[in-house]
């Protein structure tokens, strides 16, 4: 990684990256096939998100069964897979524990299973591959980009960790799971499966907030569940976006599409050969827009990462333009 070539203005009109290769912009292919290839992870994510929703809905309303048991009984807060594998939202379970209830073993096993699943994948795989609110905020983000709406104000992304801490304190003081009682994620998902009430108002609020007030406002700044999974991801979560350092020209196309652009820290990524921050949601947007194929999904032994790269601790913000 030498940054001299960026600091020195290029001699001719073609900009050069730090690897002395010309910076190429991302160009959307003309053909439909090419477009679908660029959108492939968005399509996969929608299939997984809607498929999960459909499995819950089908098991609840159409009696979908496999091996004589409902496929997915319950909702994303807690459920039972194939009638005997309990699953539970670990953050909801933690809140109920903080509320002072002695938990039944089913929910504890369920929360443990879900935690292990996300520890074996990437922690925030939840956010971009399962969470139903992601579809709402992605839609808001897309419209926002089309209309070129500017932020009303700025918030710090660390705010979500404050909300996470606050939710546990309020839970402990009030004796009820504080975030679960207002969580738009739970409300949206629950009402989609068990009947629509007035929960859509909460969804509308998030949509409008993300659309007009703050870019990636909910998922990127406020949501304590995302913060919880980020913290879980610090423990393990080997599914990361790998970063092929020599090919990167710092064209920042990835930063422009990333919902958590602070994770695309080129200096850190260059040293570690991956996007190491657990705030990365593994949505795969950056992979398909990269003109140099620098970024890829990989399973990485993160133990190795922390032993080999203890020196590159300092962070720099990504350069937007040179």
């Amino acid at each position: 990684m030498n940054s001299d070539s960026i600091q020195n203005p290029p001699t001719d009109r073609i900009k050069l990256g730090p690897n002395d290769k010309p910076v190429r912009p991302f160009i959307m292919p003309e053909s439909l096939w090419g477009k679908l290839k660029v959108w492939r992870f968005i399509i996969y994510r929608r299939i997984v998100q809607l498929g999960t929703l459909l499995l819950f809905f089908g098991s609840a309303h159409w009696g979908w069964k496999l091996f004589d048991a409902p496929i997915l009984r319950g909702n994303l807060s807690s459920s039972e897979f194939l009638g005997f594998i309990p699953l539970a939202d670990p953050f909801a379970t933690l809140q109920i524990f903080f509320a002072g209830h002695i938990l039944h073993k089913d929910v504890l096993i369920g929360a443990a299973i879900v935690s292990v699943i996300y520890l074996l994948l990437g922690a925030r795989v939840w956010c971009s591959w399962i969470c139903p609110i992601n579809m709402v905020t992605d839609l808001a983000g897309w419209i926002r980009k089309k209309l070129q709406i500017k932020d009303t104000f700025k918030l710090r992304r660390k705010l979500r960790y404050v909300i996470l801490g606050l939710s546990l304190i309020v839970t402990w003081l009030m004796g009820v799971a504080a975030f679960e009682w207002i969580s738009p994620i739970s409300i949206f998902h629950r009402e989609l499966i068990f009947g629509i009430g007035t929960g859509w108002i909460a969804i509308l609020a998030i949509f409008l907030f993300d659309l007009f007030v703050l870019k990636h406002g909910w998922c990127g700044h406020l949501c304590p569940l995302g913060a919880f999974y980020s913290m879980l991801g610090k423990v393990a979560a080997p599914l990361r976006i790998s970063f092929d350092t020599p090919t990167c020209t710092h064209c920042v196309e990835c930063v422009l599409v990333c919902p958590e652009p602070q994770v695309l820290d080129f200096k850190l990524a260059g040293g570690r050969h991956m996007i190491s921050s657990s705030e990365c949601t593994n949505c795969g947007r950056c992979i398909t827009v990269c003109p140099e194929d620098t970024l890829k999904y990989s399973f990485i032994n993160i133990r190795q990462k922390y032993t080999s790269d203890t020196s590159t601790k300092q962070t720099i913000t990504p350069r937007r333009t040179t």
């Binding site: 009984r73 209830h101 929910v107 003081l173 009030m174 009682w181 409300i187 068990f194 007035t198």
Partner: protein
């Protein structure tokens, strides 16, 4: 980072500001929870539910009880219902609880908000049936007794008492609810023929009083009253059985 070194005063002010913001929003959050989680005491919960406060703390709002209910009795509260959001409840007038022997809703509960301690559905106490004596047509003098006949706790949770009527030779058939057997399933509420049901399920603690231990009911001979006094034992069955007409007429005649 070529800023001037922040003074201690700035640092303290900043800390105080952030702490106040957190406290203010935390208090608002707590206030909203207080409003929501303790909104309604009239909710009928599924069998085995903990006390309302503990139930609200323990319920993860997953709806597995709802999915497993074979009669579609249970519903999850939306923000529209005046029930804490996401928690299961039922409205007996629409669909009552039919008291499945295997209690699938309770067994589906992953957190124990529906306590798995309940072994027989007959022991569940979802609520207590209460009769409006002014609007019950049996009390008005008509023959009805529908609640008595549909009651799954046959002839124990609801019994019929015969009362003489002043203006006619016919008796009134009065339904009486017994709290020691009523599970609060609400089958009677659904069956009640009046426009607005004259029998309703309410949470038992909303209508039941408590006698207090210092009241000694001397005519009840099922317990010690004082150390030196024991009520004479009665043969209850014989006393309560009405004497047959023949015996009445022949009383004192024989021998």
């Amino acid at each position: 980072m070529a800023k001037t070194k922040p003074s201690r005063r700035d640092f303290l002010v900043k800390m105080a500001r952030n702490a106040s913001l957190a406290t203010a929003s935390g208090s608002l959050w707590a206030y909203l929870l207080q409003q929501q989680a303790h909104a309604n005491n009239l909710i009928i919960r599924p069998p085995g539910a903990l006390q309302e406060k503990d139930f609200n703390a323990a319920c993860i709002k997953c709806g597995q009880c709802v999915t497993d209910c074979p009669y579609d009795t249970l519903k999850l509260a939306t923000a529209h219902d005046s029930v804490p959001i996401g928690t299961p409840f039922f409205e007996p007038r629409k669909i009552p609880c039919y008291m499945c022997k295997d209690i699938p809703c309770m067994n589906a509960c992953p957190t124990g908000a529906l306590s798995h301690d309940l072994k027989r559905i007959e022991d569940s106490r979802m609520g207590l049936a209460v009769i409006d004596m002014e609007n019950c047509i049996s009390y008005l003098g008509l023959r009805c007794e529908i609640c008595h006949r549909v009651c799954p706790m046959q002839n124990s949770a609801i019994t019929i008492e015969h009362h003489p009527r002043k203006t006619s030779k016919h008796s009134m058939f009065i339904p009486i609810v017994h709290s020691e057997d009523c599970t609060g399933c609400g089958v009677c509420v659904e069956a009640c023929p009046t426009d607005e049901p004259a029998i309703k399920i309410v949470r038992a603690d909303m209508v039941q009083g408590k006698v207090g231990e210092h009241y000694r009911l001397g005519w009840k001979n099922n317990g010690e009253i004082t150390q030196d006094f024991k009520a004479p034992k009665r043969k209850e069955m014989e006393e309560d059985k009405p004497a047959s007409g023949l015996d009445y007429f022949n009383q004192g005649e024989s021998e």
